[in-house]
């Protein structure tokens, strides 16, 4: 037997990780407490609950929560569990409500979490106090430029420090078009895969897979729409023969930068044509002139950024992708579509058609590959998963800010986030709800 700390040292090694991280239900149960509790986890975006009394139902790991904006405008993350017999008090995915009444015995809570009514409360004796039965809440809640994060770890660093090197990249993603405000109210694709949640997270920073896993998309695009479209910059013979790179930003956050290829000239020009392309481009050019239209059309296309905030937020293209573990071998990937307030409507229409493209033409093949990984991981005798690419090629560079940069196909992402994973799993965490 290994001691607790050395158990994780054994399972997460420098260039390989153990299969049980993807298959062992007891490790999964511990992750749902420590990873999705011990660090800042993305919960939602402020624009999803923009008005007083708006709410959305979410999960922190496997814990159901309600994200509310109460009457005073304050954001709350409440544990969705009646203080009485544990039933969820909010059973809708989104809406507007000042109160949540448990359907079972009628206990009622304000959208700020206060217990305001218990039917027949005198039966609980003279010392009964409503205030003792408020909904539990996520102890710490902080936002960065609209992104709402929560943690049960009172000792976690402040959110801005935790985001660290990722902050500047969030800024760049949000500031692609001046004065435009990101809005997350355009529905979401939800895809379920029979795979461990980390197979999705692995893929988010894997710059090695596109020419292979997405071969069907690349082939179809080249055959039907000609060369130099979309992701044609991912070569197959030498994946690192390009201007793209990958980075470790600290705290398990990583980044793949496709911009040096995708946005080298015009991402709009290289985009495979999406429905409405010609109509709305012509409309914009007519109304705003070629120069302004051309600038705007670049934000109709994906950002060329893959920014991965450990453990569950993947900013990809123009979407906010959230990794939602369901079971050790089951995960939901939710792709929240985004629009921009402050750009002509044509841009947002084009963004809708663009944002549903990759889930249909690309993510489906990744999903099949994740499920194939999960099947292969079932073999007990074959214990290890390789994450050693570019570990010994001396092509990674550390800068003064502590950001480590490597070639695009580097497994840096895996090694970086697994260090943070191991740190959290090994730590004695003091997790509490408020």
């Amino acid at each position: 037997m290994h001691s607790a700390a050395s158990q994780w040292d054994h399972l997460v090694q420098e260039g390989r990780v153990h299969r049980s991280l993807y298959t062992d239900p007891s490790i999964f149960a511990e992750e749902m407490i420590k990873i999705f509790g011990g660090t800042w986890v993305y919960l939602g975006h402020e624009s999803e609950i923009s008005k007083p009394n708006d709410f959305v139902s979410r999960n922190l790991g496997l814990r159901p929560i309600i994200l509310t904006r109460d009457g005073s405008g304050k954001i709350n993350a409440l544990l969705n569990r009646c203080s009485h017999r544990a039933a969820t008090v909010c059973r809708l995915r989104e809406g507007s409500a000042r109160y949540f009444t448990c359907g079972y015995h009628g206990w009622t809570y304000s959208n700020g979490g206060q217990c305001v009514s218990v039917p027949g409360d005198d039966a609980y004796g003279p010392d009964f106090k409503l205030g003792r039965y408020d909904l539990a809440r996520i102890a710490r809640l902080e936002t960065y430029r609209g992104f709402i994060f929560g943690t049960l770890n009172r000792e976690a660093p402040d959110l801005v420090d935790h985001l660290g090197g990722a902050r500047m990249l969030i800024d760049q993603w949000l500031d692609r078009y001046p004065r435009a405000e990101l809005v997350v109210r355009s529905s979401a694709h939800r895809m379920v895969m029979r795979a461990n949640w980390k197979l999705v997270y692995d893929n988010a920073g894997d710059g090695y897979h596109p020419p292979f896993s997405h071969r069907s998309l690349l082939l179809m695009t080249a055959r039907r729409h000609g060369p130099d479209r979309d992701m044609s910059y991912y070569g197959t013979s030498d994946p690192d023969d390009c201007a793209m790179y990958t980075q470790s930003l600290g705290h398990g956050h990583t980044f793949i930068d496709q911009r040096p290829e995708m946005h080298a000239d015009s991402a709009w020009k290289r985009q495979r044509p999406q429905p409405g392309r010609e109509t709305y481009e012509a409309q914009l050019r007519r109304r705003l002139g070629n120069e302004e239209a051309a600038r705007l059309l670049e934000v109709a296309v994906g950002s060329g950024m893959n920014l991965n905030l450990f453990p569950n937020l993947l900013i990809i293209g123009n979407q906010i992708q959230v990794v939602e573990p369901l079971a050790v071998d089951r995960v939901q990937v939710t792709w929240y579509a985004t629009t921009l307030d402050g750009v002509p409507e044509e841009i947002n229409v084009l963004r809708m058609r663009t944002q549903e493209d990759f889930p249909n033409f690309g993510e489906v093949d990744d999903g099949a590959n994740f499920e194939a990984c999960q099947q292969g991981l079932a073999i007990p005798e074959l214990e290890w998963v390789d994450i050693s690419r570019h570990l010994h090629t001396a092509r990674e560079r550390l800068d003064a800010q502590g950001i480590l940069t490597g070639p695009i196909s580097d497994d840096l992402h895996f090694r970086a986030y697994y260090q943070e994973w191991k740190r959290l799993m090994s730590a004695e965490l003091n997790l509490t709800v408020g």
Partner: protein, 193 residues
């Protein structure tokens, strides 16, 4: 397929605000279908819908897409059929992107369909009615039983169809597939519904 047949160089010009507004306005038609057309037109529509389902189940996607009109839409809303200009959909394709979708599956490298999903489309509760302006419309409930790689699944919902007469024959101008759970997590639906 020859290179000319597969290339998509021609522009696609029909997806515009007028089209989107028409699609949203159709909601009234699906909720209050009108009277049936002449019996021979009812029979034509029925045959077209059944043929469409059969070609999908047989994996004959190139023949399937030829059942659609030149300016067709294949649309799977996310939950309610809201304005696709403001919300993403599960899928929303003009003919060009629908053809891309078929061509992707034919590359031999579309891993989501290796092995392919086997499907059985069951259609019921069929209502056929006038769609206005020389068009016909239909609404039917469906269950698609699927099997792939050891996994059985059932998808259910209702479809709205618009048919137009093009070059002397009736073609599908719109197939709107309303899953009962389109807004919930979907597994691998990379075949055609």
């Amino acid at each position: 397929m020859t290179k000319d047949e597969s290339s998509a160089g021609a522009p696609s010009l029909y997806v515009n605000d007028a089209l989107y507004e028409r699609l949203i306005a159709l909601d009234r038609l699906w909720k209050q279908p009108g009277d049936p057309p002449a019996p021979e037109l009812v029979e034509t529509c029925e045959r077209l819908i059944k043929r469409e389902a059969r070609l999908l189940d047989d994996g004959e996607f190139e023949r399937w897409i030829e059942l659609f009109s030149r300016e067709c839409i294949y649309w799977i809303p996310l939950g309610r059929a809201n304005d696709p200009r403001r919300e993403v959909t599960v899928e929303f394709h003009d003919r060009r992107r629908l053809t891309d979708r078929v061509a992707r599956l034919r590359t031999g490298s579309a891993y989501s369909q290796i092995p392919p999903t086997r499907t059985c489309h069951l259609l019921s509760n069929l209502e056929i009615f006038s769609g206005g302006a020389g068009e016909l419309a239909a609404r039917s409930s469906f269950v698609i039983q699927t099997y792939r790689a050891g996994v059985h699944r059932a998808l259910a919902g209702w479809c709205g169809y618009l048919f137009v007469n093009e070059d002397g024959g009736w073609k599908i101008a719109l197939k709107q597939i309303n899953l009962i759970d389109g807004d919930e997590g979907q597994e691998n639906n990379s075949f055609f519904l």
